[in-house]
Amino acid sequence: MKWLARRLPAGSLLFLMLAGMALVAFWAPDAWAQDAAGPVEYRSFPVVGSRVVVWVIAQLHLMFGAFVLAVPMFALTIEFIGFRNGDKRYDDLAHEFTRLLSVSFSFTASLGALLTFFLFILYPRLMEYLVSIFDWTFMLYACVFFLEAVFLYSYYYGWGKMPKWLHLLLGLGLNMVGIAIIFIADSWLTFMNSPNGIDAEGNLLSTWDAINNFTWMPINIHRLIANICFGGSIAAAYGAYKFLGAKTEEERAHYDWMGYMGNFIAIAALLPLPFAGYWLGREIYAFSQSLGIALMGGTFSWLFIIQAVLIGNLFLAANYYLWLSMERIHGAERYRKFTKWLLASITVCFIVWATPHSLVATVEEARAMGGSHHPILNVLGVMSAKNTAVNVLILTTYLSFLFYRRANKEATVSWAKTGNIVQFGILAAVVGVVIFLGVYGYFVEASVRIGLSIPQVGLVLFAMISITIIDVFMFRNARILGPIEWGKIPNRAQYALFFIAITFAWTMGLMGYVRSGIRQHWHVYGVMRDTSEHAFTPTLGYAANVVSVTVLIFFAFIAVVFFLSSLSGKKKIEAEGGASS
């Protein structure tokens, strides 16, 4: 096992196994028979069907990819903080996060290879077309991927063995290459949703225009942020897993801190995510209203109810974790009385947000209602109310953070009282105006209403930034009421971290589905029709089951990653223990 952990052939082994299975599956005689019949458009896959295999493998690849690209981002940041303030703990934490990478990287690569393999075999016509559009980017991708491997392994194995500045530079290179990877891959899949750079027959005019299509940048940004969030939550789950198995107080303290840091990263990235999401939504509408309506108003409107449940749960669990975290801080009692108000605010926002926009079950039903808007749910369900709810939700979570930050501090500056009043004033004013704009939205024409979300977002950002700045100055040289006792946190809190990680993985699965799903019976929207047996869009329940299975497979893999990573860590701890005794 130790040998395994050191050499890490797990990924390649797995790949060989799966590739072997796939080969056996395709050696079935009927696959050959189909080949003989002329140019093949589709091939079928036994038992679950082509669509589901490609779906599950793509999603697994995406999740591992997201993790592998996100961890270096915050590992580097944490390493840099440690470098600047000279606190060895940060450097160790960054290194520990990085340790999760090497096994995951092999998994990512194997899954990617498997995905390519299946796509070319099962969807030859589509892939031929995509290759004709994107030819050289595939080569570029391969090269960049290779570079990623070089950077990743030298960053990981070079830890502590080279000058710090050189190591940080390697980390920067790693991140640059990682971002290049995600941007290239995004160009392919965004093209399928919002094709660009082609003529009316679908022939290529410009590869760059095909890359730079309507949804490319919004998806790049949305994914980048979501990946950090996801990576942070998985890293936090690792901390939680180690915390629960910890034997000593020291270990408990360490892994409590690790879980906290991972979660902090996840939630910090979660706050701007809805904004990026709405931008993405806008661009989809801008490309094609039909696509936008399919997304938010038509077939998939119920999917966003499920998304609202997921996101609501994320916010709820994140706040819950922060409240529990305050138990390890002396002085936090002062803020406990506020939690019930925060909880109430989250609940109300959640209900508004989860109220569906339009409830189209069938066309007949839509006809019976004289269109697609439900008379009763219309009011809470439209964008105006939802935007408002999300904004208030974000502010509430921000407030939990603020309380946590202040928990053991007492301001000593002379203007502390004024400062508090100003902070409260800003918050109250912003919440007031945000709600006012939300209500006002009902009294204006659609074209005006859509623009109202911009001042709302601007105000929320303004509130968070200005209140933080005041807070930083106000709590300079603050009196510390007591230390933070890392490790003094109930096990419940660790389960909250698992919950966040699972919910996040599920959200990714669901949203990955809607991204492909909104194309409905098109492979490339408006350009290449899906003429396979799988051209229909399945029920949400069915899609959700596929997502659940994918998530469980993902966590089975992650368990292997955790296990192998903690093996490779053990040697070090044992060695250190031996040296000190």
């Binding site: 039909s290 038509g298 997921l310 006809r367 919910t503 029709r529 229909f536």
Partner: protein, 274 residues
């Protein structure tokens, strides 16, 4: 070890919970748009009916528009469009205005709304000229009187967008695997549907008789009954029987969407009861 087990159980429970939540929302399968049959000799009244069907189906108009008389939505309400169309644009008759707003929607933007409709003669909606005439007839009938027929000529029409051209390109796409050309009856025999269903007698065999399927079910229901037999189980019959048998014969792996349509059309033609 105990912890690992607890975490596993917890993970499964959370995933199961989200799956469960997702079963609570309406479950609907969306099929690729169906073609509405347009006969060359259809009367204007028949065109109106066909147009309404296209507007709710292939045209996807109702995903955006309402036909309820309520104003203030995000898209123009069409309940009175037949009445107002003639006055919308200087020098345009109602038919001309409607045609323009379908072929070239961004030429004229209705006051208070943002541009956002795509030309419905192009993909993804991709209606042909005849279908668009039917839709125009339907729109005229909303608050007004329909006048167009399939012979009405509009300057937006073109060679490539006629029904004949569309049919030719579809035939080209369909000319793939040879099994595609099997008739519905042949498919019905090939997959041994007849062992459990009769199409000639009203008596049930292992499964319900389908001799009156065309009257009993819409085509969408037939699709669902075949692709997901256990979603709705007819009374007195065993769930899972049909899906098990069809899985065993490889029906779901082999059937293409074209064949499925042929099969459904064949069943829809069974109107023994009327």
């Amino acid at each position: 070890m105990m912890n690992a087990l607890k975490i596993c159980v917890f993970t499964v429970l959370v995933a199961a919970f989200y799956s469960y939540v997702s079963q609570m929302v309406p479950q609907k399968v969306t099929y690729p748009p169906e073609e509405t049959e347009l006969g060359a000799d259809m009367t204007t009244e028949e065109l109106v009916v066909a147009g309404e069907e296209i507007a709710g189906g292939k045209g996807t108009c109702l995903t955006c528009h309402t036909v309820s008389g309520d104003t203030g939505g995000r898209f123009p309400d069409l309940a009175n469009i037949g009445l107002v169309a003639a006055d919308r644009k200087e020098g345009f008759s109602d038919v001309e205005y409607l045609a323009e707003s379908l072929y070239d929607p961004n030429e004229y933007i209705v006051e208070g709304f943002l541009p956002g409709m795509t030309p419905i003669s192009d993909p993804p909606i991709d209606l042909n000229d005849e279908e668009i005439l039917a839709v125009i007839a339907y729109l005229q009938s909303l608050g007004g009187v329909a006048t167009v027929t399939l012979d009405t000529e509009l300057r937006w029409q073109s060679e490539e967008n006629s029904a004949a051209a569309a049919a030719a390109s579809q035939a080209g796409a369909a000319a793939g695997p040879s099994a595609e050309n099997l008739s519905g009856e042949e498919l019905f025999a090939m997959y041994a549907c007849g062992t459990c269903h009769s199409v000639t007698e009203p008596t049930p065999l292992l499964g319900p008789s389908l001799y009156n399927a065309g009257n009993d079910f819409s085509t969408a229901e037939l699709y669902e009954a075949i692709m997901d037999p256990d979603a709705v189980v007819a009374e007195e019959f065993t769930a899972g029987l049909m899906s098990a048998q069809l899985n065993a014969t490889g029906f779901y792996d082999k059937i293409s969407s074209g064949q499925l349509k042929t099969l459904v059309d064949y069943l829809a033609m069974q109107k023994g009861g009327s």
